[in-house]
Subunit: 244 residues, 4 copies
C-alpha cells in the first residue's frame, strides 16, 4: 500500500514518516509539507494519505484528496459539525473514497472507554481516578470527564453507586460528573494515567491506561491506514475499526 504523509516535517509528521518506513506492508510514497505541491500525491501513486497538518489547511487538503480518489486518515484538529458535513457532501460525489477523522488515535485510550461502556451496567459502583503531571491546568482531565459521561449514559436507569458518606472534609469524594465520582491526582514524575474502577459485592474490575509519551498514536494511525479503504465515506473516531 502506497502511503504519503501530509505535514511531514512537523513533529508528529516525522514520527509517522518513520512509522510508515518501518512497516513491512506499507511503502512511503511521498512526504509533503507547507510549500510543496499537493500534486506530488497524485504523481506518486499514493493510495492513502496521513494528514497531521493544521485546521487552516486541512479542508483544502481533503477536497483535493477526495477529488483525486485518495483515502485519508486525519489527526488534524478543529473539525466542527459544519466541517464534517462538508466532508460528507464531498464524499457523496465520490462513493469509493474513504476518510477517517479521529480526535484520539491512542488505541489504549479508545479501548479503555469502550470497555468502560461495556462494563458500566454490570457493577453496582464505578469511580474514575486520573493521574497527571502537575503542569496540567484542568481537573478533571477532558478524557476523564468524557469517560465519566459515557459511563453515566450507559448506566441510565440504574441506581447510583452506593455511598454512605455523611461526614468528612470537602472535596474528599472527588468531582461529580453526571453522578460518577472523578478524582484528579497531580504528581511530579507522572505523565498521563487513568483508572476506571468497577465494583460489586465480592469483586472489582479495574481498567488502567498509562500513556507514557506522544508516540502512542502510531499504532492507531497505522490501523487506520490499513483499514480505511474498507469503509468508504466518512468515519469519525477509530472505534468502528476495532471490530470485535
Amino acid at each position: 500500500m502506497r502511503v504519503a504523509v501530509l505535514g511531514a516535517k512537523g513533529k508528529v509528521g516525522q514520527t509517522m514518516v518513520a512509522a510508515v518506513q518501518a512497516a513491512d506492508d506499507l511503502t512511503l510514497s511521498a512526504e509533503v509539507d507547507a510549500g510543496d505541491a499537493l500534486t506530488e500525491l497524485t504523481s506518486s501513486g499514493t493510495e492513502v494519505v496521513i494528514d497531521f497538518t493544521h485546521p487552516s489547511v486541512v479542508m483544502d487538503n481533503l477536497k483535493f484528496l477526495i477529488d483525486n480518489g485518495i483515502h485519508a486518515v486525519v489527526g488534524t484538529t478543529g473539525f466542527t459539525d459544519e466541517r464534517l458535513a462538508q466532508v460528507r457532501e464531498w464524499l457523496a460525489a465520490k462513493p469509493d473514497v474513504a476518510v477517517l477523522i479521529a480526535p484520539n488515535f491512542a488505541i489504549g485510550a479508545v479501548l479503555s472507554m469502550q470497555f468502560a461502556k461495556q462494563a458500566a451496567r454490570f457493577f453496582e459502583s464505578v469511580e474514575v481516578i486520573e493521574l497527571h503531571h502537575p503542569h496540567k491546568a484542568d481537573a478533571p482531565s477532558g478524557t476523564a470527564a468524557r469517560t465519566a459521561r459515557l459511563i453515566a449514559e450507559a448506566r441510565k436507569g440504574l441506581p447510583p453507586s452506593p455511598d454512605a458518606t455523611s461526614t468528612g472534609i470537602e472535596g474528599a469524594r472527588g468531582a461529580d460528573v453526571d453522578g460518577v465520582r472523578v478524582h484528579s491526582v497531580r504528581l511530579a514524575g507522572l505523565i498521563a494515567h487513568q483508572e476506571i474502577l468497577f465494583g460489586t459485592e465480592g469483586e472489582t474490575l479495574t481498567i488502567r491506561h498509562d500513556s507514557l509519551d506522544r508516540t502512542s498514536f502510531v499504532p492507531g494511525v497505522l490501523l487506520g491506514v490499513r483499514k480505511v479503504a474498507e469503509r468508504p465515506g466518512l468515519t469519525v473516531g477509530i472505534e468502528p475499526l476495532l471490530d470485535f
Copy 2:
C-alpha cells in the same frame, strides 16, 4: 418473576435464596434441596430455577425442568460434551424452554476475558500476572491459563510479544502458555487476583480483576435469571448475555 432455588440449603444455595429475596423484581417461589419433591417447583408456579446442586443429580433436575417448561440457570459443575448434547436433545422437543449453564458467573472475570480478547490484536506485547493465596495447588491458575490461550488464539498471525532476554535466572520470564507469558504470585493475605497487561510503544493498558469472596457470582446469576427466557435453547457461559 417467580424464581426457585435448587440446592437451597447448600452454601451457594443459601446465598442465592437471600439474593432472590433481596431483589425487588424477583419472587422466591420455592426452596428445594435433597429429599424434597421436584413437584414443589411446578406447584409453586416457578418460572426460573437456579440450580447449584451436584453433578450426580443435575441431569435429572434438568430433565424435569425442561419437561415442565421451566427455565434453568445452572452453576453446577461437571458438564461434559455428552451431557451438553443430551440437554440440547431434550430442549429440541421443547422449543420455548431456555437453559443457561455457566462455569463462571463472576461478571468481572468474564468481562476480563472478553476485554482481553478484544484488545489482543491491537498491542505489540501482552503478559498475564495472576496472584493468589499460598494454599493454591496449581500455577498458573486455570483462569490465567484459559485467558492466555484466548489471547493467543486472538493474536493468531501476529508476531510474538518482543523479548530480548538473553541471560538470567530460570523461571524469571514466567510460564509460556501458547506464546503468552504468565506469572504466578503466591502471597499470604491475597485471595484471587489477575492482571492482563497490554503494551505498545508509548502506552499500556491493564485489565485487573480482584475477586475478594465467593459472593461475586450473585450478580451474574441474577443477570442469567432475568435474561434466560430471551434465549430459548441451550446457552453455555454468560458471555452472550453481556450484550454490548
Copy 3:
C-alpha cells in the same frame, strides 16, 4: 512464654486465643472473660496478658496486672492522655513491668505510615488515595487523614506539592489535609485500602496497603507479646518494636 487472653470470648479475643495456641513459642496459660476472676492470671503463672476488653474495665485490668508483675499488650480503645498518665504512674512503682498500648496492631498500616514519614522530604509531590467499601461514613478515612498530617509534619519547611490546576470541577483535586491532597474512593467490593504516592521528576514511589479482613492485627499483637518485656514502662504504638 506463658500468655493469657483477657476478653477471651469476644470476637477478637477468640482469634487471639487461636493465634497463641498456633504459635510454637507461646503457651496459652488462661482464657479470661467477664465474670471470671483475674486471679486466674496469677495462679496460671501468666507472664504476658493480651487485653482486648472494654474501656470500662481495662483500667482495672491494668492495675491488677501491673501490681502482680504481669506484662500487658493492650488493644482495647479509649486511652485518653489522663488514662495514659495514670498507667505511667502505676508503672513507676513497678519498674520491671512493661505495658504496650496500641491503637492499631496491623503491621502493614503502621509500616505504611513509617515509610511515608521517611520518604516525605525526598519527593516534590505527595498525594494520598484511600479506597473503602461504600458503607463507610467518613471521608477521608481516619487513617488517611492521620497519614496526611504525618507527611505534612515531615515536610515542614519544604514548598508545597506543585499544582497548576486553574480550571475544573469542584472536588476533583480531593480534600486538603494540612496541604496534602487526599482522595476517597467508595466502591462496592472493596474493603480497606490506601495508596501513598510520592513523585519527583522522572520517578514515582507508591506505598500501598490492602487490609482484607480483621485478622490482620494478629502478627502485630504476637510481635508485641514477644517483645513487650524488653521495654519496661509504657510503650504507645507498635512502631518502637519495629526496630530497624
Copy 4:
C-alpha cells in the same frame, strides 16, 4: 554553596548543570570537561564537585579534589574495592574532606530497597515483580535480584514464604533468588518498574517504584551536594544521607 560539574558536556553532566542553575541555594561555579584544566575548580572557589565522567579519569579527578580540599559527589561507575581503598587512604590525610560515591542516585529506588529491608521480617510472604521494556537483556533485572537478596538476608532465620504449588507449568512461579520469588515482565510501552509485595493473613503491603526517565537521579545528586560536607571521609551509597 559553590558547585562545579565535572563532565559538564556529557548528557548527565548537562542535566546536572541545569539542575544546579535552577536551585536557589546553589551557585554554579564551573563547568569542566575533557581538555579543561582542573585548576578551574580551585580558581573558581568551588566547594563541591559533581563528577559524572569516566572510570579512566575519575581517580585522577578525586586525587586533585581531595588534595585541594574540595568535596565530591560521584556518579561515575567502576569503583572496585581497590579503588575505594585508595580513596579512603587519600582522605585519611585530609580529614575535613568528604567524598560520596553512589552507584544509584534515584531516591525512589534506594528508598524502595530500604523499606523492603525494614518490612522483610514482619510478613509471612514476600515476592518481587519487576517490569521493563522488551529490549532488556537480563531477567531478572539487577535491581530486582539485589532487592531479593537484601530481603533474603533480612529474613534469615524465618521460615520461607508459604507455597503449596504442586502442579503447573514450568516457570510460572518465577525465578528463585535466595528463596525469594522474582517475576520479570517485558512489555512494549514500559520503562523500568518494580513492585515488592509483602503479605500476611488479612493484609498486604506493596512498595512500587516507577522510573520513567533518566532525570530521576537529579534529586539524589542535589541531596548529596547539600549533605556531603556533613560526612567527612568516604560515604558509599546515598542511604546514610536519608537520615530517618
